[in-house]
Each structure stands twice: as C-alpha cells, then as structure tokens.
C-alpha cells in the first residue's frame, strides 16, 4: 500500500517551447493540508490543470488514490473537488441552479446542495442570480461546488485570490476545518507563504517549474531560527577575542552575529566583551520570517 494519496512522478509540461513544469515529484499524504507555494508564473496552475486532467503532461505520470490518472480519470475525478484560478459559474442562474448543473453530472442526492450552501454560508443568498454576487461570494460558491460530490481530495488553486482580509480569514477557517470534520485531504496553492503557513501541514515550494522544497511545515520553520546581532566599538578585535574564548560568533566584515542564542551563551559573550573594555552598543535578536526564507529559497522573486 502506498502512503501517498496524490503523487506525481517526473511531471513536466512543455508550453511555448519551454518547460513550464519541470520534473515535479509531488507527494501528498492522506489528511494533509498541502500548501503548494511558488511565486507568480512558477507553474502552480499548470500543475493543477494536469492533476485534474485538463491538460496533458508532456512527460511524467500522476497517481491519485493509488490509481493512474490516465487510465482511471473518471473514477478519480468522482472523488476530487476542484477550484482552478477563479471560480466558474453561470451568472444568469442562482446558486442553487448553478450547483444543480454540477449535481446532475455527479449524481449525488439533491439534499447535498443545501448542505454545501450551508457550509459556505450562502443559504441566505442562494436564490439570487450569481452575477450579482461579490467576488468573495463567488469564491465561496466555487468552494461549495468543489464540495458537492463529497470529495476525498480537494484541489484549490489560490482560493483566496482577490478576497479582503476578512474573506481570506473566513476561507482559511473553512479549509482548516475540512480535514477535521470531513476527513478531506487538501492541496491548496498560493503565492503567499503567510497566507497558508497557519493551516498547512506540508509545503511544496516550486519556482520556475521546479520543486525546490518539499517537507513538513515544521521542517520549514526550523530554517527560520533566530540569530543575535551585536554591535561593538571594535568588532573584528572582539570577534578574535571571543573565538579565542571558544564562543560561537561569526564575523562577515560588517556584522558580528551569534548563531546559538541560549541565554547563557549571550550572557558570557556580553560579559567577555565588557571585561575586555569593548563598548557594547546593541545586542538584538534577529528573526527570519518564513516569508524571508521563502523569498530566499525562491531566489528573491517571491510574493510582491
């Protein structure tokens, strides 16, 4: 038995003569909220299109629920809910009729429609034509559509695109509750780490079509360990002196930093500096945010 609910093998897509997705090995575990991260144009949407059978891979294979997507597309899609890029809807129809057009193809009981409307809290507006909805409501209808077939796997491509902070918060809560309450596995893409770091259990970071990091969110956090920066009157001399005493300091010609930040170490360093008549101007802790790490990993062309 394979532990991955979704797995790609050397997945690649050639578009306009270049590899938009390049040798991707995506691995999603049952019950994961998998954050699929990458800057704009990294190839997230292209990958997701292939996962849904909307585009054919140039090379590589996709297995979902342990089945080959090429061979068992229909039975796989039966248990996958999706929202790609921005929600699709029929503007002249109301929310119920919109869901009904999908329900007729999924063959689930009619009662599912009011259930999913309840989940995304659209029950009150269900009888209004969707073209009059706000973007956030359309997005929620998109999520309701994705949930209609009681999927085991939800694939959401930037579901918070264009939403205000309150809307983002709301969708985030909804997504977080999903694995808990419905046993759903979720793959969610975003170009902002901050947006999904609070809910993701695993992250995959992709840039220029290639996966450059894939592990648990804890593993990513571990890279974000803080450092202490010390400014003194004669830094180079201070560095030599501290090293001679066996204290862990680094000197990069401009900054004196300490990688190990236990209180005891910092105290000894400061004591030594004072004893040797160095003027200590500042001792400050520097925290690298996950976003900084993300920017660093993706080569600086991250979010903004």
């Amino acid at each position: 038995m394979n532990e991955w609910i979704l797995e790609t093998n050397g997945l690649s897509k050639q578009l306009g003569g270049r590899a938009v997705v390049n040798q991707l090995n995506l691995q999603v575990k049952q019950g994961d909220i998998y954050g699929f991260l990458g800057p704009n144009g990294a190839g997230k949407t292209t990958t997701i299109r292939m996962l849904l059978g909307l585009a054919k891979p140039s090379v590589g294979s996709i297995r979902i629920f342990g089945k080959d997507l090429r061979k068992e597309r229909l039975s796989i899609l039966r248990k996958v809910g999706s929202l790609v890029e921005y929600p699709s809807y029929y503007g002249h129809l109301n929310a119920i009729d919109n869901l009904e057009t999908v329900r007729r193809l999924l063959d689930v009981p009619r009662s599912r429609i009011s259930e999913v409307l309840e989940i995304v809290r659209l029950t009150k507006d269900a009888k209004r034509a969707v073209k009059g909805y706000s973007l956030g409501m359309k997005q929620r209808l998109g999520i309701a559509t994705a949930l209609l077939g009681q999927p085991d796997l939800l694939i959401l491509d930037e579901p918070t695109n264009g939403l205000d902070p309150a809307g983002i918060q709301e969708i985030r809560e909804l997504i977080k509750s999903m694995p808990r309450e419905h046993g759903v596995t979720i793959l969610i893409s975003s170009h902002l780490l901050a947006e999904i770091e609070q809910m993701a259990t695993r992250v995959g970071i992709i840039t220029k079509g290639q996966m450059i990091f894939q592990d648990s969110i804890e593993a990513l956090r571990r890279q974000a360990k803080p450092t202490i920066r010390i400014s003194v009157s004669r830094p180079e001399e201070a560095w030599r002196m501290l090293l001679a005493k066996g204290l862990p300091v680094d000197w990069d010609q401009t900054r004196l930093t300490v990688g190990e930040v236990s209180d005891r170490t910092v105290a000894s360093i400061v004591a030594a500096l004072v004893q040797q008549d160095h003027d200590v101007y500042r001792v400050e802790e520097e925290r690298v945010s996950l976003e900084d790490i993300f920017l660093e990993i993706t080569g600086g062309e991250g979010s903004l």
Partner: protein, 238 residues
C-alpha cells in the same frame, strides 16, 4: 449519462435569450410568408398556386427556412458554447467525472434538439397559416413534414461544424463570420454541383431525390462531428 448531461445543459440555458431565438426564427419565417401571401393574395392564391395551395405555401416556407436555419444554427451554437466561455466554465465541467466525448456530444445534441424544436414550430406555424389563409383542411402532411425535416437532417454537418468552431474559439467573431458566410454561400448553392454541402439542405440534386441530399448530410454530419470530437478530446483546457 448522456441524458444527465443533456438535462444539465438544458438547465444552463434557462432564462437565456436562446429560447427567444428558438421561437423567433420560426415566427419570422412563417410571419414573412403571412405577409407575402397576404399582400399578394390574389396573385398567389388566385393564379400561381391555384391547383395546389398547400404545396405552394410549403414551398415558399422552405425557401425561407433554409437560410434562416443556416444563420440560426450559427448563432445558436455560439450562444450555447458562450455559456461556458463567459466565465471559463470549461475547466469546471471537464474536471467533473464525465468524458470529454460526453461533454462535446452533449453540446451538439443540445443544438440539435433546439433546432428540432424550431423546425417543428415552422411545420406547426405553416399549418396554422394555411388554415388562416383558407386553404382548407386537406393538409398534405407527408409533403409538409418532408419539406421541414429533410432540410433539418441535411444541415446536420453545419450544426456539427458550428458547434466545433464555437466550442474551440473563445472569441465568437470567427465562428459567427463562418456561419454568416455559409448562409450567403448557401443562397447561391444552386449553381454548384451536387457535391456542394451548402446545397444539400435545399434538397436539390440531379437525381431529383431529396433523400440523397439527406443521406449525404447525415453521413457527412457524422464525419464532422467525429473530427470535432477528435480535436476536443486532445485539446488542453485553459
């Protein structure tokens, strides 16, 4: 499954201008013939068609119906596909557990069904008009049904073609141009040989056998449908 797809398609066109179009075409065709026969009543009824009033009316209706079908099917296909293009719903529909073949044939069948409704309305409208004009109740049903449904069958390749084009291109200007050009070409099709597909819906051929035109239309219609399908199932969806 195909039935479920068709029922979903029918739901999608609810409250759309499409239904108006389906009625507008037949009303236009029959209405224009009402004007034609009304204005020239003495000439047409008293002289030209004196021996076969119903036959004359049916002939006139058909002459108008075929070009109307040509333009109508192009507009219809464009509107039916437009429902998916508007908010790019293709990605949602095709990520559902349905085959591409089912989705594409679903659109085709919807077009076919709606045009069948229009054709039937033309037949019904003709009967009403004939009775109003006082042609009596000796309605030649056989002639009437053939005059309406044979062109409909012979025009199937164009339904398949416009459906293919409209589904393929997001911008409907090109499919519509092809459709309009097709209607114009069809009006001069008498000058072409019997091989010319735009001529088939007029049921005119050297053998004077309308069924030949119908057979050509149905056979070639299947070919165009199959070609469209082969393209659609391979294409990447935006």
């Amino acid at each position: 499954m195909s039935l479920r797809i068709l029922s979903a398609e029918l739901l999608k066109i609810r409250r759309k201008f499409i239904w108006f179009l389906i009625f507008l075409g037949p009303i236009g065709v029959v209405g224009l013939q009402a004007v034609n026969f009304g204005l020239r009543y003495d000439y047409l009824v008293g002289k030209v068609y004196r021996d076969d009033l119903w036959g004359g009316l049916i002939e006139n209706v058909t002459i108008l119906m075929v070009p109307t079908l040509f333009i109508g099917l192009a507009i219809l296909a464009s509107m039916v596909a437009g429902i998916e293009h508007q908010t790019n719903s293709w990605k949602q529909t095709l990520a559902l557990p349905v085959t591409r073949t089912q989705v594409f044939t679903g659109k085709f069948l919807l077009n076919l069904l709606l045009l069948l409704v229009s054709t039937t309305l033309v037949a019904a409208g003709t009967i009403v008009l004939g009775i109003v004009l006082g042609f009596g109740t000796g309605i030649p049903y056989g002639v009437l049904l053939k005059a309406c449904y044979y062109p409909f069958l012979a025009i199937v390749p164009f339904i398949a073609l416009q459906n293919w084009l409209s589904v393929t291109f997001q911008n409907q200007a090109f499919p519509l141009t092809v459709g309009i050009a097709g209607m114009v070409v069809s009006m001069f099709s008498i000058r072409f040989g019997d091989w010319f597909p735009w001529k088939w819906p007029y049921l005119i051929n050297a053998a004077k056998e309308p069924l030949y035109s119908v057979a050509c239309g149905l056979a070639f219609g299947l070919v165009v449908l199959a070609a469209g399908l082969a393209h659609f199932v391979r294409k990447d969806v935006k």
